[in-house]
Structure formats: C-alpha cells, structure tokens
C-alpha cells in the first residue's frame, strides 16, 4: 500500500512537473504576460493532453522500476528520450488542434527545461521514496542466500544506497560463523528458509549455493516472492554479463572484450 501510494504520488507529481516546465518555457519565451497573439490557454491545454502520452512513454522505459537508479546515465538517457517524444507530440498536437506552428525556440526551451526538471525531480523523489520504503517495517524485506564476498558487498551497497530492497536476513547453505553482516542477521542454514520466507519476505537474492537454485526458485514461486540471482553464483565476477535473447529465449551472455562501439551491433 505504501509503495502504491508513493508511486501514484510520483506519477501525478511528474505530470505537474512536466506541465509546469512547459508553462515556464512559455513565460520565458513570450515574457511574463498572458499574450493575446499566442494565448496561454490553448497552449497549456495541449500540454496537459500531451503530458499523459509523455508519461506513458516514460513508464514504458521502466524509469519507475524499483531496480532503477535514477542518477544513472542510462536513466538520464531514457528521460531525454521521453522528453524528446513529449516535445514532438506537443508540436504535432498543437498543429492538429489549431493548425498552427509556432516558435521553435519555445520548443527548445520546453525540451531542455522539462528534461532537467524531470531528472532533478526524479533524483529528489527517488531519495524520498527509498527513505519511506525502508522505514520499519520495510516494504520490500529481502532475504540474502549465501555468505560470500559478493553477498557482503551487495548488502553493503543496498544499505549504503538506501535501496528499496532492504536486506533483513541472511541464510547460508553450509552455515557460517558470522552472526550478522553489515547489521543484517545471519539466521542459519537453508533449513530455516520456510520460517524466514513466512515472515513476509518479498525478494530473495541468491548469492551462492548454485545446487539449490531450483529449490530456492520453487520456494519463491510458491510464495510469490521475486527471485534474483547474482551472476557470481555462475562464476561471472567481471561485471561484463548481459541478458540477451536468442530467438526469443533469454540467455546470459559474456562476450570477449572489444571496441565499445561493437556493443551496439553484437
């Protein structure tokens, strides 16, 4: 419920930021008046209609996904792409409704302002959302399976970055001497899995015990828990893996290191 409320708030606030950006662009271009040559009302009406389409485009880029880091270059690229589509849709919409084209500079203002404003707003809101989602009781309590160098690093990163997935328990197939890792209690071996999962776990991240993948996955499916697997469990530790598709079948791919441009083609 907390997550849905926050998400709804985020979507609505995004619409407001988008419309406000276009309003600001109008006033910057036309001046701080309500011009009769280029009336504000039809302008803002088209912006309001366009904002809904723009939001759909932004949603399809999975910018609002839990696993997305708002500050990443990739996310910025998606926001720029959505803003470009938004600007194009606005120009087309205005022409369709009123049969007019207008200042190209205004479009440029709108594009730049909406992109920057949305990105900044996303950075601020994501921070607020993470804080709210991690408050006790956390919305996405996460179980870490396996005590390894990789899992220790992951727990540290999740906690340091206030990730919405909050590690609340660790299990290890072979048992380990640690009683806690970065403040997260080590609850024992996998025989405690059923007990821990019944405590409302929403995500499970497997960091070792490859031989138990099927069973962990099966437990997650039965309890409608999201299952994640660290590539290091498969021996991939160089952070160069990609999930691709071969004739529609997903495959994890690790290719030889080569020219970065080839990334687009291979």
């Amino acid at each position: 419920m907390r997550y849905r409320l926050l998400l709804t708030g985020w979507l609505i606030s995004d619409l407001i930021v988008f419309i406000s950006s276009y309003a600001l662009a109008y006033f910057l271009r036309v001046g701080w008046i309500l011009s009769t040559d280029f009336p504000f009302e039809p302008y803002i009406t088209v912006v309001a209609i366009t904002s809904l389409l723009w939001l759909v485009v932004l949603i399809t880029t999975r910018t609002f996904a839990l696993t997305r880091t708002q500050g990443s270059i990739r996310n910025l690229a998606y926001i720029i792409y959505s803003s470009l589509v938004g600007t194009a849709l606005f120009a087309l919409g205005y022409y369709f409704l009123y049969g007019l084209f207008f200042s190209r500079m205004l479009l440029l203002y709108a594009l730049v302002i909406s992109t920057v404003a949305i990105w900044i707003w996303h950075l601020v809101f994501a921070r607020f959302q993470r804080f709210m989602l991690r408050r006790d009781p956390p919305v996405f309590p996460t179980l870490i399976v396996g005590v390894t160098r990789e899992s220790r690093e992951l727990i540290e990163k999740l906690n340091k970055g206030s990730n919405p997935l909050k590690p609340v328990a660790v299990l290890d197939g072979r048992g380990c001497k640690d009683t806690e890792i970065n403040g997260v209690p080590v609850r024992g071996k996998l025989n405690k899995l059923e007990d821990v999962l019944s405590e409302g776990i929403t995500h499970l991240i497997q960091c070792s015990d490859l031989e138990q993948s099927l069973n962990l996955l099966s437990a997650c499916r039965q309890k409608k828990i999201t299952y994640m697997l660290l590539p290091s469990v498969l021996g991939i530790v160089e952070r160069d893996e990609k999930v691709e598709s071969l004739e529609g079948q997903p495959v994890t791919m690790v290719g030889p290191k080569e020219n970065a441009l080839m990334w687009f083609f291979k």
Partner: protein, 325 residues
C-alpha cells in the same frame, strides 16, 4: 535392556528433503530409514525414539503405522538447531528423567546397518561396552567418524575384539575402522555418560574415549555387511543404489508409461511417470513426471515436472518445473 534411538537432528545437509521430514523418516528403498533399525531390535526390548517437537507428529504417525507396542516417542522440546540438547545431552536427560537402570542399546537414527542385531547382541559380554565397527577402507573418510583401535587391526567379521583406543573425528586417523552409531552400554557406565554429557552434550563418540580413560572395558563387533551414514545427498543415493540394486521399485499406485528406467529407481506411491528416462533416481509420492530425463535425482513429494532434464538434483516438496515453449 532398553533401546534408545537418537532422531532429533535437523539434517541441514540433506535440505530440502529434510525441510519437513526428519532424516530417520526418509524413505530408503521405499522404507523409512528408522524402520530398518527398529524392526531388527528384539521384540521384547522397549524402544525409545528421541526427536524434537517439530517432527513429533510424523514420528507418532509412523509408530502407529508400524504397529509395535513398545515403541515410545520422546520429544526433546526444541524448535531449532541452536536450542538442541545435543545427542549425548538428550541421552543423558532420558537416562536421568526415566531413571534408566538397565543396559542401553544406543543407536543413531540416520544410520543403516546391514548386520543383524541378534548377531551383535550375541557377542556382548556382561558389564562391557560393545560397539559395532565397520572398515570403510578409506583413511580420509575415516576422519569424519569415530575411529576404533583394536588388538587386531583386521578383525574378522562378527567377532569380538577388545578396543584399545577411540578417537572421535581425528585429523589423522590411524585406522579405517569406524564406529557405526550402534553401541550397547552396560548400566554401570550410565553414570559416567550422564556426567560426561554435562560438559560434552554434543560429543556422543567422546563418551567411549572417556570410558577408556576410566579403564572401563570396551569391545567391538565388526561387520562387513552394508553400512550407511545417511548424512548427505550422495550418501543417500549411494545407499539407495546398494539396497535397490538394478531394480525398479514401484510403490502402491505408482504408474510408469513409455518410460525407460536404468540403475536403481524408486517410484513412490501414487506417482506417475510418462515418456521419461530415469537413471538412479528416487521419486517420492504424489509426483507427476512427464517427458523428463532425470539422472541421480531425488524428487520430493508432490512435484510436477514436465519437459526438463536434471542431473544430481534434490527437489523440494511441491516443486513445479513446467517447460513452456
């Protein structure tokens, strides 16, 4: 004499087969492991099975179905590994609480012993501890058990030997002769066991070292029949291969259609296997397997598998692996 079977472990190495089932109740060639032990104990010897609260009902159901009147289920009131009394601690508590003043046949419930208890008990000498030993023939493996030094390091089978030394899980074993979790403790040794358990509640083998330290005589009964300590997935499959041989055991209501079975295969009650290939695989009850290739697998009850190939896997109860195109 009174038999006491230790069955309170949580068997974490056999997860997920032991997720909802005590290890001694794991079916081995279609028969619960503990049943091999209990059915061989002389009828007039009362049997107490010590387990924990989680497995209480399962043991009670099994005992009811087994139909021997002098079997008692004793519940160790713990719900997790960290609260356990320890094997020796549980034995000592039972001896104290039940005022046992009799010889005790002490057995670990997760072991399969191929010899007859009649032969074992026939070699007993009054007021002397007797332990069953087996030559596992591998010095590295021996370090995981209690090793037994005797007068003659190559005792003939079913013969009694005097034990000269006992080392619990030694780093560098001097012998491949190991304790098999079956011993007869005369009543005179029980106070020593209770006292030793206070400081070593987990070290069941250590009590034999203590008895030797106190100059109490110990003899051993060596045997060459099969013996398995079902502590791991590999050990469970190895025991299954040994007991099932090259057969296919189909329990009541099990159905196979257009299925090729090789090696040792057990198909549990009401399970159906269609258009599949099974090699050295155990399928528990109520499973549905269709168009699969399974090799060295143990599939727990209620699993549904369709169109998958698996090798060396243990699947937890109720797993569904259905290949979708």
């Amino acid at each position: 004499m009174h038999a006491f079977i230790l069955a309170g472990g949580f068997a974490t190495r056999l997860w997920p087969l032991t997720e909802a089932r005590a290890k001694p109740l794991l079916p081995l060639a279609g028969v619960p492991l503990i049943e091999y032990l209990v059915r061989d104990i002389p009828e007039d010897v009362p049997v107490t099975i010590s387990t924990n609260a989680i497995f209480k009902e399962a043991f009670e159901d099994w005992a009811e179905g087994f139909g021997r009147s002098n079997v008692e289920i004793l519940i160790e009131d713990v719900k997790s590994d960290d609260q356990k009394l320890g094997a020796l601690g549980a034995t000592a508590q039972w001896i104290t609480d039940a005022n046992i003043d009799d010889d005790v046949l002490l057995l670990t419930g997760d072991n399969y012993c191929g010899f007859s208890f009649d032969a074992f008990l026939a070699t007993a000498v009054p007021d002397t501890t007797l332990i069953a030993v087996h030559d596992i023939g591998n010095i590295e493996k021996a370090s995981q058990f209690g090793t037994v030094l005797t007068e003659n390091q190559q005792p003939t089978t079913h013969n009694r030997q005097l034990v000269t030394g006992f080392e619990e899980k030694p780093r560098e074993p001097k012998t491949t002769l190991v304790n098999t979790g079956c011993s007869l403790l005369p009543k005179s040794t029980l106070p020593i066991l209770v006292e030793y358990a206070k400081s070593h509640p987990d070290n069941i083998g250590g009590v034999f070292e203590e008895l030797l330290n106190r100059k109490k005589p110990i003899t051993c009964f060596s045997f060459s029949e099969s013996w398995f300590d079902i502590g791991s997935f590999d050990a469970y499959l190895e025991a299954t291969r040994e007991l099932v041989g090259g057969r296919v055991i189909k329990e009541e209501g099990a159905v196979t259609e257009q299925t090729n079975c090789e090696g040792s295969v057990v198909i549990g009650e009401r399970s159906t296997v269609q258009r599949s290939k099974l090699t050295d695989t155990v399928v528990f009850e109520d499973c549905m397997i269709e168009d699969c290739v399974l090799s060295n697998c143990v599939i727990d009850k209620g699993c549904t598998l369709r169109g998958v190939d698996l090798t060396g896997k243990m699947l937890r109860e109720g797993s569904k692996l259905i290949r979708t195109e």
